[in-house]
Symmetry: C2
Subunit: 168 residues, 2 copies
Amino acid sequence: MQLTKKVEQAICIIVLLATQESSAPLASDEISKRLGVSPSYMKKITRKLVVQGIAVSVSGNNGGVSLAKSVDDISMLDIIEAMEGPIQMYPDTGLISLAFHDGKYAKRGQNILRNVFAQGDNLLIEYFSKVSAGDLLKEGFGVENLPTLNWNQESLSDVLPWEQGDDK
Amino acid sequence: MQLTKKVEQAICIIVLLATQESSAPLASDEISKRLGVSPSYMKKITRKLVVQGIAVSVSGNNGGVSLAKSVDDISMLDIIEAMEGPIQMYPDTGLISLAFHDGKYAKRGQNILRNVFAQGDNLLIEYFSKVSAGDLLKEGFGVENLPTLNWNQESLSDVLPWEQGDDK
DNA sequence: ACTTTATGGATATAATTTATCCATAATGGA
DNA sequence: TCCATTATGGATAAATTATATCCATAAAGT
């Protein structure tokens, strides 16, 4: 019942893209350095964001990835589903049919369980669809208008001098 | 974001124990046959139920496993947590600290995310804690008082002749 | 004592996640 | 047009986790 690491990686990518100067796409190779994975792997991840419709990409010189829409229109659900596909908790390997020889009660039981877990899915879907990346970012930065910079060249503390990290 | 197969296996075990004649513990070896896994593996699973307080076990001749309490007091949450431990969706590998060099905003972001996912956890915890095995079983069998039999020897259709499986 | 059953440690197997490499396509600039 | 840069997609490797088994031992009843 754990989300994969990909979700955490995707969240970091969203933060980078959300604070990226709107004009310039961010090269996935830059993101890969920052998250400590190979460029090729990072491209797999960003690709998922593109397929989901969260990001857009352009090839070539000065190409890269940028957000396809406002952070206010990107939900946690979008991000999770981009990485993991639809939320479905129940494994449903058909064990009940095996154990109870596919009788009447086996089928009823299976349906009941599917329903119980689908309701669990729906709780998460409803909740995460209402949590927007925009809200979290604004909360995190403590401002209404997110700072922007060019992550292809700079780092956050260039723009936010009160940042207390080891960023240079 | 999927529950493991163990949860499905545990559910089947609960069904067996819930319909087991109260006097006789059910041998885990019998359960293992029914669920198509090795006796030793099944003992690992039943052990988790015992540790969680859902079941009790006795060694020796005519020993086995039985429910520690009424099915009405066993929740889906109990079963899930018996198999998987506490519900915690967020992987939290510390990637944000790595990506943003552990600055002020990294820490804030991490806390915000932990909180967001913890709320998701809580939705599931609340929901599944209110779904009782008893309710599901009664719904499944369509009766208020569950049929009982000795799974050490018999099968369900001995007791429920309208069962439509290939059980003998 | 003997049989039956659970417990616990070590280990094997399978599946999934995480990640990389490489060949190719797209894009823009010199 | 050629070159450098960047994304795409297929194949595959490495790491982790889930699933499962074996075996030695302990507990309990007959």
